[in-house]
Amino acid sequence: MTLTSLPQDDSVQVPAPDIAALGLRESATFDRATIADIQRAAATGVYDIRGWGAKRRVPHFDDLLFLGASMSRYPLEGYREKCDTDVVLGDRHASKPLHLQIPVTIAGMSFGALSANAKEALGRGASEVGTSTTTGDGGMTPEERGQSRHLVYQYLPSRYGMNPDDLRKADAIEIVLGQGAKPGGGGMLLGQKITERVAGMRTLPVGIDQRSASRHPDWTGPDDLEIKIGELREITDWKTPIYVKIGASRPYYDTALAVKAGADVVVVDGMQGGTAATQQVFIENVGIPTLAAIPQAVQALQELGVHRKVQLIVSGCIRTGADVAKAMALGADAVAIGTAALIALGDNDPRYAAEYAALGSAPGFYDDFQDGRDPAGITTQDPELASRLDPIAGGRRLANYLRVLTMEAQTIARACGKSHLHNLEPEDLVALTIEASAMARVPLAGTSWIPGAGQGTL
């Protein structure tokens, strides 16, 4: 148990009260989770660290709807007429861009945060359907390189395990400035997960609570980034695409600066994007929703004349083919999934209900990825727990899920009359709420009204 979680008291077992029968009124301000947070803080004196992304409700893709084809637009025949899904990433400057079969990629997650089996399963699943996986804060493992046909190598502030041989083995390099769960924050990996192998890869003592740097050690700001990208290009002989990943906070300016610094691809991660371990206060209170970030990033690309030339990958709570289609209609070239991929592997599976209960959690609520005691064997370095995830079966589940996401997105695209997912456009969308309408810059359903339109939306 970490010092950041509340010790459980098993001595008293009282049945749950019937709140309705007793006429109890719960405070909207001090709800039970808030009260538990205060009690935990008072008991431990250290902030709460957890995994997962923001749990608060924010305007999201759920608040958008597609306008199907009608009199003025022809739909395409499902199954019979073509609706392509492939995407080329990184053809602006790199001589060897990636060509993926589907526009759904796997986001960066480290070996360390995840078990070796989980990383292998991600590689197997992604390779089966022709998409890419991404390393994380902790370097590239041979298993991961071996199982991933397209592997993106993250270049992070900590530079744990950063090795020029691995850099040259990568199919793309992703310079990470931040992630949606914690724009402005560095990585964390608590001692329970710093096993000998993880410690060796990161040059750290075994069992320490690792806190990664939040700023890159050898460059600061966009002018330096341009020089840094130049160095990476020189080392890889201008072959390898270079992505720049930002946590969504000021995506208009960050996207523009990334383009000017020479990025081939910009990755924008919204605040709902997941993490393996971060302070809860950070996850819930820093960054902007994915929905609000996309139009800002697309606007920057369009104003620079590089939309579709510098590709945009969007992540942060992509769950369904509808989410994929909506992100792409707003202007993304591809999306990345993290949390959803872990769920496909078996995270939060009800069959581990008893074990989640023993950890003080429940299926659907488990987020203590930092603790390394994941019953599903995914966010752990414990050999016994990790062995529960069969990488071949896990890979198959992920491939199934990726196929469903793609087929769902195609279903919507055909209904809108599009022969490629990239042909989806903002004009295909309307919003259900004023907030979503203002953020996504599509009209409120049944009106032509976009709040803020024409008034300078930045």
């Binding site: 431990t44 990161r202 320490i208 609570d209 050898d218 160095e231 080392i235 383009v259 930045l458």
Partner: protein
């Protein structure tokens, strides 16, 4: 509303690449960066096999000189280098007869980098191995996040040096700036002069026989004549290795 301008999209290649010839077995190659491009230089270095020596003239403070070297080559840069000179070096020797910019020998894995002048900030940042010798002074963040590299600085180093230093040795023959070794892990620091201040969790430690021996070997490797017994040793108090309520002010 800000109006953006179209970006430059230039993959630099020179008009004439005839000034660079891939190194043969033992030949000496001269690359003049007034006429050849940095791209030509690096590509030729990457293509070279076996021992060879290279001389780079008119470097003009250009960035990313001699980066990503994997072969056993001897590179001499006659003048000043910009950012990331000898970055990610894996083999061979790079000598700079001048000053070096930001991120000298960043993430060096092995081999030797020798700067006869001064180095800017983040020298040898995140280096995993090898030896970096700076005859003059180094700026701020020298040895930041170092992961096994050895660094010997003849002069002074700036503030926040050896920040989060994980492994390796940093030797400073002059003085160290503020917050030396902040959040340091297992790297060892030797300073001959004064230390303006120590960073969080960095403390002075006793010089034992093995440290004098280690320091003597590092000074000798760097071609220096200082007496190891004039140095003091600094390292981690290891108090921040685990989250603890008593350390809350340090987070």
């Amino acid at each position: 509303m800000v109006t953006l301008m179209a970006p430059d999209a230039t993959a630099p290649t020179s008009d004439s690449s005839t000034d660079v010839r891939p190194g043969s077995d033992a030949g000496d190659t001269t690359t003049d960066l007034d006429t050849a491009s940095v791209r030509d230089l690096n590509q030729a270095l990457h293509d070279s096999v076996g021992a060879a020596s290279w001389t780079v003239t008119k470097p003009g403070g250009k960035h990313s000189l001699a980066v990503g070297i994997t072969a056993d080559v001897d590179v001499t840069i006659e003048g000043h280098a910009g950012y990331y000179a000898a970055g990610m070096l894996q083999k061979g020797r790079v000598t700079i007869n001048g000053n070096a910019g930001v991120g000298l020998a960043e993430n060096i894995m092995s081999g030797t980098v020798h700067v006869r002048g001064d180095a800017s900030q983040s020298a040898a940042a995140t280096g995993h191995g090898g030896l970096v010798v700076i005859d003059g002074n180094a700026g701020a963040r020298c040895g930041i996040s170092m992961k096994g590299v050895d660094i010997v600085v003849g002069g002074n180093i700036g503030h926040m040096s050896a920040f989060m230093a994980q492994a390796g040795r940093l030797v400073v023959c002059g003085d160290a700036g503020d917050a030396l070794g902040d959040s340091i892990y297992e790297a060892r620091i030797y300073v001959r002069g004064s230390v303006a201040s120590l960073g969080a969790d960095c403390i002075e430690k006793p010089m034992r026989a093995e440290h004098l021996e280690e320091l003597g070997a590092l000074l000798a490797a760097a071609g220096r004549s200082e007496d190891p017994s004039d140095f003091r040793r600094y390292g981690s108090a290891r108090n921040l290795y685990h989250f603890h309520v008593d350390n809350s002010t340090a987070y």
